[in-house]
């Protein structure tokens, strides 16, 4: 097929999956935080609150769309647009899976593989600072300005340990292209320990992984680093004056950034789409078993329902999971979905970690946050890079 | 044509450089003057990389890289100076900080 047509189809599929994942990530977050706080979360809008994102979208679209007086119109309208663009752009280089053959065409499950893939992601994250800074400036509101300045200062401060933590596994992988970074992590030590970056000799990248995760929390303005935009601090910071769809745009940008950062972590440190143990030892049946287990749990709770509506909805969930489990056994589908399952499982685990930490930790004060970045994270990241470099040079 | 003539890149570089010079000479706000300097540096970077392409060597790109680094250092110190001038004179207009002129 024509290269442009194929790329267009891939882009449409990725955009559709990403936007659906964004909407339902918000649902997952609200449910998980609710259960951490011993309550139920969205429950009434659709079965188990599954239509809550749709209700939120309708609410946000129908709200009054106002522009504050004396605001810089071009920047005010452009800032959320720019933030969303930058947030969604990084997905284009992330590899979701290996090479697949669909309808006679051979293609990789990745929109494009740049030679400088990881630098592209760092560049996009540098540019996303402007969305926040412009939003704070354009609102003509001193609280927004302060919140925007603090948020952007936090983002550029944590870019440094982030970049250093990214550079360390690159020394092991010896390439900047994301596809080749994952391909460098194939293989197994002793037949069952995967050769992911965090386990790879000569220097397992555990410290880089931890530094990258902490810096990623700060880059995406998530708890415990969300002082600049929390609702009870500085009147919600840089997005105070934004209503309806523009606020929704910032919201979407934050979740898209979260998904991007978790995908990059998976690619760099956790082996991307590679399975946890070799396919020869039966790792191809893991998705089937997982979904069958999910179906069994749903069926059990459907037969002894805690609430009356569950008598109907939970068996439906069980049937859907059973069908998905069967779908993973079909060889044609398996080749496409299996790598994507492993990628989604790892990214999903990291996203669960993000949500878990939001429900658990208190937030940093701003000066503590900046001091943490410059006085602790940056020296540790530099030391980690130096040790990795020394070991790679000594053992290569 | 299959490619872009090399001279077009050099003309673009000259255009950006002269725009930077025009901004440097004409504007009164010290931050805009500084940004015109950055525009000049960008024009020169394009020129270096064009010649790196023409000679099929990477040296031009190394020079460009070093120019970028020097521009970053200069921006940091220059903006700190601008902040200090603003603290002392409360104005960003370079016509008003001419007390050393006779």
């Amino acid at each position: 097929m024509n290269f442009f047509l194929l790329s267009l189809i891939k882009a449409v599929v990725v955009a559709f999956v990403l936007l659906t994942a964004l909407a339902y990530l918000q649902w997952v977050e609200r449910k998980v935080i609710a259960h951490i706080q011993v309550r139920m979360g969205p429950y009434r809008v659709g079965p188990h609150g599954l239509l809550q994102p749709l209700a939120d979208v309708i609410k946000l679209i129908t709200k009054e769309d106002l522009i504050p007086p004396h605001a810089n119109k071009f920047l005010y309208l452009g800032a959320p647009f720019f933030a969303v663009t930058m947030a969604l752009l990084s997905i284009s280089v992330i590899p979701f899976g290996s090479e697949i053959h669909v309808l006679g065409n051979t293609t990789w499950m990745q929109l494009t593989d740049l030679n400088i893939g990881i630098l592209f992601v760092l560049a996009i994250s540098s540019m996303s600072v402007y969305g926040v800074a412009m939003a704070g400036w354009a609102s003509n509101n001193k609280y927004s300005l302060l919140g925007g300045l603090r948020s952007s200062a936090q983002m550029i401060s944590y870019e440094l340990p982030l970049s250093m933590a990214v550079a360390a596994p690159l020394l092991l992988a010896n390439t900047l292209s994301l596809r080749h970074i994952v391909l460098q992590q194939t293989g197994y030590y002793l037949g069952f320990i995967p050769r992911w970056s965090i386990f790879q000799g000569p220097m397992p990248q555990i410290f880089s992984f931890i530094i990258f995760l902490i810096a990623a929390f700060a880059e995406t303005n998530r708890v415990p680093f969300d002082l600049a935009e929390a609702e009870n601090e500085l009147v919600a910071g840089f997005h105070t004056e934004y209503s309806s769809m523009k606020f929704a745009a910032f919201f979407m940008a934050e979740y898209a950034n979260m998904i991007t950062v978790c995908s990059i972590t998976t690619t760099l440190f956790l082996g991307g789409w590679l399975p946890l143990w070799p396919a020869s030892a039966g790792s191809s049946y893991v998705p089937t078993l997982v979904f069958l287990g999910g179906a069994a749990v749903a069926l059990y709770h459907g037969l002894n329902p805690a609430r009356r509506m569950d008598r109907l909805t939970l068996p439906v969930v069980a049937v859907v999971f059973f069908l998905i489990a069967v779908a993973f056994l079909v060889p044609a589908v398996q080749a496409v979905l299996l790598p994507f399952f492993w990628f989604a499982a790892k990214t999903g685990a990291l996203l669960f970690l993000f949500i878990w930490i939001r429900g658990t930790l208190p937030r940093f004060r701003y000066d503590q946050l900046m001091g943490f970045a410059w006085k602790f994270m940056f020296p540790v990241a530099v030391a980690n890079l130096m040790v990795t470099g020394l070991l790679v040079a000594a053992f290569s | 044509m299959t490619g872009v003539p090399l001279s077009w890149y050099l003309i673009l570089s000259a255009v950006l450089f002269s725009l930077g010079v025009a901004g440097f000479l004409l504007r009164r706000n010290v931050i805009t003057v500084f940004m015109s300097i950055e525009l000049m540096l960008n024009g020169v970077n394009l020129s270096f990389i064009t010649f790196s392409y023409q000679l099929r060597q990477v040296n031009g790109q190394i020079f460009s890289f070093l120019v970028m680094v020097v521009a970053a250092a200069e921006a940091a110190v220059g903006l700190a100076i601008i902040l200090t001038v603003f603290k002392n004179r409360a104005t960003l207009n370079i016509d008003d900080v001419s007390s050393m002129k006779d």
């Binding site: 412009m134 | 725009l19 960003l92």
Partner: protein
Amino acid sequence: MDVILFLIFAVIAVVCGINVVVQTHPISSAISLIGVMGSLAVLYLLLGAEFLAAAQVIVYAGAVMVLFVFVIMLLNAGAETRRGRSLLAQLLGIPLLLVFLGLMAYFAQRLFPATAMVRFGAFRGGTALDVGEALFTRFLLPFEVVSVLILIAILGAVVLARKELD
């Protein structure tokens, strides 16, 4: 395809460049300058300098311009008010500029043969590997000197922008 991409991004660069000089409010000039740097990054990609393109966006557009934007926001610089401009400068300035640019264009066309075409992919020596190899072997001394320069700049900026402890 090369020509279309070059024309689009060259026009964006020139329009944003004119905007930098013409706009009264410094924040608009700063945004236009970010636009110039972004389009120049694409032009570097067309010239085969992929590492430089990424460095341009990460360092120049993503760090240096953030510094500018911060300072403009902190100082709350208002739009520039026009003072008396000499009419002669206004009448002669733009035509002279255009004559100068025309001369430069003519000389550039004469000096470089028409067969020197820039094709995307014709120069593959701009990868991170090549830049890194050159930077750490032949250009090691400038690299180390420039890192000392950055250190001096950091110290200078910290000293200048520090609050006085009374």
